[in-house]
Point group: C2
Chain length 767, copies 2
Amino acid sequence: MKEYFKSDEFLIIEEGFEPSYNRVSESVMSLGNGHMGIRGNFEEKYSGDSLSGSYYAGIYYPDKTKVGWWKNGYPEWFAKVLNGINYIGIDVTIKGLELDIAKCDVVDFRRILNMKQGYMERSFVAIDKNNNKTKIVSKRFLSMADSQIATIKYTVIPLNYEGEIILQPYLNGKVVNEDSNYDEYFWEEVDKKADDQVCYLNMETKKLGFRVACTMKYEIYNKTKKIEAQQTKSVCQEGYVANVIKIPVKAGDEITLNKYISAVTNRDYSNEQLEDVSIKEVTKAYDKGYEALLEAHISKWDEKWEENDITIKGDVKAQQGIRFNIFQLNQTYTGDDPRLNIGPKGFTGEKYGGSTYWDTEAYCLPFYLSTAPSKIARNLLIYRYNHLEKAKENARKLGFKGALYPMVTMNGEECHNEWEITFEEIHRNGAIAYAIYNYENYTGDKKYLADYGVEVLVEISRFWADRVNFNKEKDKYMILGVTGPNEYENNVNNNWYTNTIASWTMEYTIKSLDYIKEDHPTIYDKLLTKLELKDHEVDKWKDIISKMYYPYIEDKKVFCQQDGYMDKEQILVKDLPEGNLPINKNWSWDRILRSCFIKQADVLQGIYLFNERYDLDTIKRNFDFYEPRTVHESSLSPCIYSIIASQLGYEKKAYELYLRTARLDIDNYNSDSDDGLHITSMAGTWMSVVYGFGGLRVKDDELCFSPFLPKSWTGYSFRIMFRDSLLSIKVDDTIVIELISGADVMINIFNNKYILTKTNKVEIDNN
Amino acid sequence: MKEYFKSDEFLIIEEGFEPSYNRVSESVMSLGNGHMGIRGNFEEKYSGDSLSGSYYAGIYYPDKTKVGWWKNGYPEWFAKVLNGINYIGIDVTIKGLELDIAKCDVVDFRRILNMKQGYMERSFVAIDKNNNKTKIVSKRFLSMADSQIATIKYTVIPLNYEGEIILQPYLNGKVVNEDSNYDEYFWEEVDKKADDQVCYLNMETKKLGFRVACTMKYEIYNKTKKIEAQQTKSVCQEGYVANVIKIPVKAGDEITLNKYISAVTNRDYSNEQLEDVSIKEVTKAYDKGYEALLEAHISKWDEKWEENDITIKGDVKAQQGIRFNIFQLNQTYTGDDPRLNIGPKGFTGEKYGGSTYWDTEAYCLPFYLSTAPSKIARNLLIYRYNHLEKAKENARKLGFKGALYPMVTMNGEECHNEWEITFEEIHRNGAIAYAIYNYENYTGDKKYLADYGVEVLVEISRFWADRVNFNKEKDKYMILGVTGPNEYENNVNNNWYTNTIASWTMEYTIKSLDYIKEDHPTIYDKLLTKLELKDHEVDKWKDIISKMYYPYIEDKKVFCQQDGYMDKEQILVKDLPEGNLPINKNWSWDRILRSCFIKQADVLQGIYLFNERYDLDTIKRNFDFYEPRTVHESSLSPCIYSIIASQLGYEKKAYELYLRTARLDIDNYNSDSDDGLHITSMAGTWMSVVYGFGGLRVKDDELCFSPFLPKSWTGYSFRIMFRDSLLSIKVDDTIVIELISGADVMINIFNNKYILTKTNKVEIDNN
């Protein structure tokens, strides 16, 4: 099933309908606009296998946790991104027979995702059991220009018959989550109405009372001629409203239904406002009309591509792959709303509860930092700032001072349900701190530290200071009982990465406090009071920094992933017999835990983050030791190794690792894209190109590059925003860096400095 | 609520009804006869809080496992001991008003468990809202003489009214398990009938098709006069059958309903036979009559007490406590059926799934070895022998050779649902091997090794040999990624106990093979073929034995519980601030895991099992180190420490530890007896007395004692079976050992040998 979709620079094309692959296609063809998202489901009824998905940003359900044996401190619930009102549905009846692709012969089926313009288009001919042939063409988009609006143009063309067709556009709130822990139904109807002008449905979630209200309006054309009078009625059932439109047709007619939908939630309006706003919004859209809405939508996408396209020459698959990743990231998060974040599956599936993980800080933040105005990345930081009190509660619950950010969350509370993750995978706390550094370093917005950042840093440092354990005999601080980024080890002592990021957090916190004291003394005094920060606390941090224990493999001169790692049988991935990989599908959990195999970058994650601390020899030794032991069974892994390989000049290895995620979902590489797309790992793929091949770094306020051209490509280019300047970087025989817009900027290429101005591009020979 | 029950040498007495304590009382008042068991629920309707429980040995339900994130190798189901047909129910209507103790004034309430004779008796006066006063007296038992029969004598005495009472004895199959993972209903009705002569109900479990068929018959008396003609009808509803008996009464009448019940299952009969057998059995019981049935039942209990009573002088609470334990163990397992085993809660509750744990081998086996003919203990071994193929499958599932016995099971398959237990708590495998040694050593039945034992030993040794990991650098075999008996550590490396018992298993297997080769050469040859055992395998075991790694704390000269244990902050239990204990109620799981505190005997468990290997100084150093770090939050822990304390002459400590479980359930010490009783730990309490205070050991076929008298007691005595001789051991100012029955036996007291004959008791001064 690899290479199921046709290659194209800007399109994802499915030709011919393959029911067994439908869930994957639905995932790949997902649309979103930051406010909401839908999987590539069919409008008309489909009784075959399908994962129906209509998601609304920030609307979730606290499902009762499912654990075998409850233990103190376990989260009570696991937050689920909710499948909500399905607004795409249009049932079709052809001369009394309901159209169901699963029950027809389907000819000339094409489903296309147009990434350039952000829409999905579908066409096919259905031949039903009465031998009536009907061509269907549908095109839909969720407006990037007006995020509360979705529009569908649905055309029915009778090819060989005359008679009556019925179109039944509907809103259906009776939807379920496949991943409901106890097969519960999460929604209740609040209100509805249905007449020929407008269908309105308002649903509320149980427990938290989130409301989603959708309204739809429609118009009917035969070719270009609007049909005013149809024989219609409306349907109003529990959680369901619809219009029923009967149309007499003859062969050659082209009956088009334009369905306009508004979707508003009580995250943005009061419950009382919902009906009014929803109807007003859809009416406005209806009045603008389909073409005008589409035009505004495309124009927004043009802006996005202008800001963050990557082009690749000489490899159309690679081009398609990278654009797919950029496209999905832009669909998932637009950065307008600091209450939102980036779920691992975005709006494309239910898996992982759709909540916020450390993926955001470690993988997504760099993408948004480099491809959007800095306020977008800042909103990702503010999201965590706003959760600080919850993070403090979370630490308290486990018996600690300071703040422990959750492994998974929707509202700041922990909602994962495995002790080895929630209690032990605490390195995530460091990622929150690192994101502040990353933002400050990239944007130069140091003031953020004083306004928000340092409060988070101090509380995280307090957590680390309470979580370490002083070993008198060894005169060292240790961190016992953790799970590192490599989740194929649980409950280990002294994970090198965790110890490293913990100590680094305290260092950076002290440095940040010093800066605020110096540059913003008034704010500093207020902070001391607010945080009740005392000198002895900072002294304790200094003591921990100086006496932190870092496991080390003496004879190999590499950092040791954790205590006891070398007691394991040391085998290399290449020596595993065929059929063993991926080990998470072929081995018991027990065997995985006891093996030396590494799921994802762990020591290397640290070397990636704190790159400047280590000389090339050290980096090389660690890469050479750990890479052959890493199975990369997280989509977040290869990008980190790829970036380091690029740094080491391992160009072939860097490209090979890049390939492992570049087309992960398009090619359903891990056979799991049916569940939804790997949204957060897409940012990692982007990083492999820009940070890896392009060698982007920001050091001491200077933008640095050290690009190389992978052998399989004839050239590539990317665009990045740096402190509100937009740059284009093009790499083929020459390296050309241009300033597209914004102020002049000092850049550094292969350790040479250049000043980039609008009239002065930098061009370097690349042979 | 401590000391809720009155003290008595042979009775457990509840005086006055305390609804909030009802679940505990129901647990404590449970009855069982090896074949079935019931909690101390009321016969009449009770709308207050209650855990209704009617259990049938070996009838279970494979409930779908509840885990947060599925991982390879997880068991698909968690076996639940099933709540089945409730046969004790008798609804009572007084002049049109249903009797419900929760809605009456209740006076003179007494609920008594008579341990001497094995019945529960209850009496009270209920004053309903019409001010009708009714005295109720009920007495019931599950026959030890005929395990398929239960009998209830239920007397209703109108004190201040005349009119009609209705008695409605019933069988109710519509029962649920409170611990159902997905609130499922586990039973379906097969068949029923109800007439005035007989009510019959046959229920079948979903999935596995276990059937339980119950039949009831009744008779009515007014005082001693049988009432022949009542106005009756019968009720026949889904899963429910009943007789409805209307009786005109006047004050002073004593209306007694004798309810006879048979309960048979398709574990013992074919589905076709069930109805016939069930009706035949109950008819036989009915014909014998209540008094004759009770007499036969009591006579069986007399035999039990004759065999295994422990008397304690000078401390009635201690006397009551130890008898309660012996009583419950005898109720739970009679040893007639090698398909059965001893669930942690016996027939007294649902918790822990009621399945077989290593508790059986480590704690219960010694009790049955010493208190019953050897075939009873042998049946416990045969149980595991019969599960050998499943244990091999279980090892295969995790990728290992040999056999891994499950942590929890009903039918040999693993059915626990936490990876840190199922995959890692593999020391349990050693307990299965040790039980074979224990049996052989105690009974002298070496032939068992050849007939059954060694097959189990070889397969367990094969597992260990595959599970160890050779560390070239250290030239040692290691066992990584385990959970020891101390479940407050998960996924540790080189748990001393696990490494010890693994190596010991291989040693004992080799020794057993040598014995069979020598003494049973024909069997030996057959075994080699059957097991496909090769010399190189045995050589590998020898290599592992000689190079096994045992962590050691050099400066303290004690065995180290596992790698890294000493990196933990070393605090003692006595230094914990008040309110921290028990830590499993007050600390997060995370904090528990990272602490040095030990849930239950771990290193000490090894020292207990392999006692003869260690000199007293070594034992003392280890006890002195580990005991102050042990929180004993498993009911299986204090007994082991108590036995070692006795051995070390720490008499006060031994007694103090003994007290922690002696009255665990009677005093609801851990506030969890509402869930059911701690059946398997009761055997541990028995061991504290017999192995600890009495100093019982069997060394080289010799029965050894080194008794002491705890200061709070004026004397104690116990009886034990040793190789079919019954001995009485009495300890007060003198130590008197008598042979009650069976052949002469050589004994050893304080290292002096004596020959015990029927005419020659041994008497030693104890001052």
